[in-house]
């Protein structure tokens, strides 16, 4: 039985429904050829900014119950080195490379897209949601009008797929998603991390060098699933779901909740081949359940006892 795993995002067809999430798989070349990366729909690179960033002071990470807090602060090599040193190597990676872009202003994002249009990458994920930077972070971008006008500017610059990555730390994530859709985004991806902190009681210090960080891992999966379900009911463009996906089962739950495809993030820290394991597991589950198109599973979850697709939020 043949199995169609492809996912369409704008003009791009992903070969499978699993991507490696930004900031959790380096620039895509870190693991060389040791894993079957061709099983992935894509790799979203570490967010690149115009200038290199050294990142936040230590500690940058602390494990919490069923999760972890990070405060990396968009450490990256900067646009110039990304284009010169990183992207050429990524041409050899057998899956779609999606560049994650971070800007403190709409103008910086415009400059990044302009600069990358001639470079070999398959699309862009706009990081509208980093919780760990003073400027241009999740709080700045959690503004529907700003998101819509910025996305529209970027849309005018590129035919490549534009994915808007959103914060879950907003009163109305669906409104932010609709703003991105109105601005011409091809997809929205969510959730980025939830703001949290951890305390060293004996020293009465924040564990993290920048006091707060972003919570990820299995701890946030129920929160993320609910947001993905809500947002997928509010927009017509595909939703890229993520938040604590450790296994194929987790990923499939996101898909039936409303995600067209998923990203695996924190799991890669525990096992570097986690995205590949999830991708292979999804194919196996589909074969075992007689599913011939993964797309047929999207947003098929129901409220128990109801025959029609339910929406927990309405």
């Amino acid at each position: 039985m043949s199995l169609d795993l492809t996912v369409r995002i704008g003009t791009l067809t992903l070969r499978g429904p699993v991507l490696a999430a930004s900031g959790t798989y380096g620039y895509g070349d870190e693991f060389g050829d040791r894993y079957a990366l061709e099983t992935l729909g894509g790799i979203v690179t570490k967010t690149v900014t115009l200038k290199p960033r050294a990142g936040n002071p230590p500690h940058r990470m602390v494990e919490t119950p069923s999760g972890m807090l990070n405060s990396i602060g968009l450490e990256n090599v900067g646009l110039k080195a990304f284009v010169k040193d990183k992207l050429p190597k990524l041409a050899l990676v057998p899956t779609a490379i999606i560049a994650s872009l971070g800007g403190e202003t709409p103008g910086e994002l415009v400059r990044l897209v302009r600069a990358l249009e001639a470079a070999p990458c398959a699309g862009y994920e706009i990081n509208y949601s980093c919780p760990n930077v003073a400027k241009g972070g999740a709080r700045f971008w959690a503004d529907a009008r700003r998101l819509e006008s910025t996305t529209r500017k970027l849309r005018g610059l590129t035919a490549r797929p534009l994915i808007a990555k959103l914060t879950p730390n907003a009163t109305d994530p669906a409104a932010l998603a609709r703003a991105c859709e109105a601005g011409g985004a091809d997809a929205v991806s969510l959730v980025n991390t939830f703001v949290g902190t951890a305390i060293d009681l004996e020293r009465r210090e924040f564990m993290l060098g920048r006091a707060t960080g972003g919570l990820s891992g299995p701890a946030i999966k129920p929160l993320a699933l609910a947001q993905v379900h809500e947002v997928s009911g509010a927009v017509r463009i595909p939703v890229v779901g993520m938040g604590g996906i450790m296994s194929a089962t987790d990923a499939l739950e996101f898909i039936v909740a409303g995600a067209a495809c998923v990203q695996v993030g924190t799991a890669s820290f525990a096992r570097p081949d986690a995205p590949v394991r999830v991708a292979l597991g999804i194919a196996e589950w589909c074969q075992a359940h007689g599913v011939t198109r993964v797309a047929d599973l999207v947003r098929t979850v129901r409220v128990a006892g109801e025959s029609k697709g339910g929406d927990a939020w309405t």
């Binding site: 900031g23 959790t24 798989y25 380096g26 870190e30 693991f31 060389g32 290199p52 050294a54 990142g55 002071p57 230590p58 500690h59 940058r60 990470m61 602390v62 494990e63 119950p65 069923s66 999760g67 972890m68 990070n70 990396i72 450490e75 090599v77 080195a81 040193d85 060293d200 009681l201 020293r203 564990m207 060098g209 891992g217 299995p218 924190t266 890669s268 820290f269 525990a270 096992r271 570097p272 081949d273």
Partner: protein, 318 residues
């Protein structure tokens, strides 16, 4: 001071993830430390002293622990087509508590990872350990011994209960001289381990010999003091550093340690402000670290097991 020297570059090892059989995992007699011996198959590349592994007992994963924990390899003994790896640890937080409770079974091991100790020095090898920081240095001493080389092995700890040397970890060394110290005097010299360089003429002499090099592992304060001492004597210090680490493979960018701007210069493609301890270390030249800005790793809140939390009277006396 650094002259034209360059900071070490990232090392990308051919690491593998393997299921390791636990051959031993028990308290080290007479101490607060634990000793585990893990059997890894021949697919595991031969490690060098100073390299580390990410360890996760299957029980810890089943209990919901997300991340593995980094440990220096304390011993590496050929065993058939594979290796027996020794891990020295203390029960300081949730991860090591689960390790201590995991007993035997199968543990997931990812490695070998990182940059080890440089071994090209021709002069005396001076090994300075603090507490469980003895781990990678026992491996180094054994490695040197196997190549006909000895070392001066200075091991300090707070008390005898925190102290372990090569013999305690089952390593028989004939060329290494062990110099014990403890802050309370319960083991060897009473005081700090670096005082041995003043008090013992042979060590003072070894420090002054051309080609001498210090290899150090231990708490932040010891590494900072050792680096300062080395700089004062013009002796290179190779320090095995520690930081909060999620992945061990260079992708999470968590385990950053502040770089000393006066130290050896990083290349343009490296982070100019921080050392990535899992790739550029864990062993780095002491002069690379800005010790004043470095922050000692905090264990996660020491876990109080519910079944042992019976000390507080929660019920009213009737």
């Amino acid at each position: 001071m650094a002259g034209g020297k360059r900071a070490p570059e990232a090392v990308r090892t051919r690491f593998v993830e393997v299921a390791a059989e636990v051959l031993e995992n028990a308290p080290l007699p007479g101490t607060r430390l634990y000793w585990a011996v893990l059997r890894v198959p021949g697919t595991f590349p031969e490690p060098v002293p100073g390299q580390f592994v990410m360890v996760s007992p299957n029980l810890a994963r089943a209990a919901g622990q997300l991340l593995s924990r980094p440990f220096s390899i304390a011993r590496c003994i050929p065993d058939g087509d594979g290796w027996k790896l020794g891990i020295l640890y203390a029960r300081v937080g949730k991860g090591t508590d689960l390790m201590a409770r995991a007993g035997g079974g199968t543990w997931t091991v990812l490695g070998p990872l990182g940059r080890g100790f440089p071994t090209e020095h021709k002069g005396p090898a001076l090994l300075v350990a603090g507490g469980r920081g003895t781990a990678p240095l026992v491996f180094l001493a054994e490695w040197l011994e196997a190549r006909g080389r000895g070392c001066e092995f200075l091991i300090g700890a707070r008390t005898a209960a925190d102290w372990a040397g090569p013999a305690e970890l089952g390593a028989t060394l004939t060329r290494a001289r062990v110099w014990p110290a403890s802050e309370d005097g319960s083991r060897g010299h009473k005081g700090r381990v670096l005082e041995l360089f003043q008090d013992v003429p042979e060590l003072a002499e070894a420090l002054a010999r051309p080609g001498a090099a210090i290899h150090a592992c231990g708490p932040h304060g010891l590494l900072a003091a050792t680096s300062a001492m080395g700089a004062g004597f013009g002796v290179p210090v190779h320090a095995s550093i520690e930081a909060h680490m999620a992945c061990g493979t260079g992708i999470c960018r968590s385990c950053m340690v502040p770089r000393d701007p006066r130290g050896p210069k990083p290349r343009p493609n490296q982070n100019q402000e921080y050392i990535v301890s899992c790739l550029e270390g864990p062993v780095v030249p002491g002069e690379c670290v800005d010790w004043a800005r470095d922050r000692e790793a905090s264990p996660l809140a020491a876990y109080v097991p519910p079944d042992q939390d019976g000390t507080l009277p929660t019920e009213r006396a009737r």
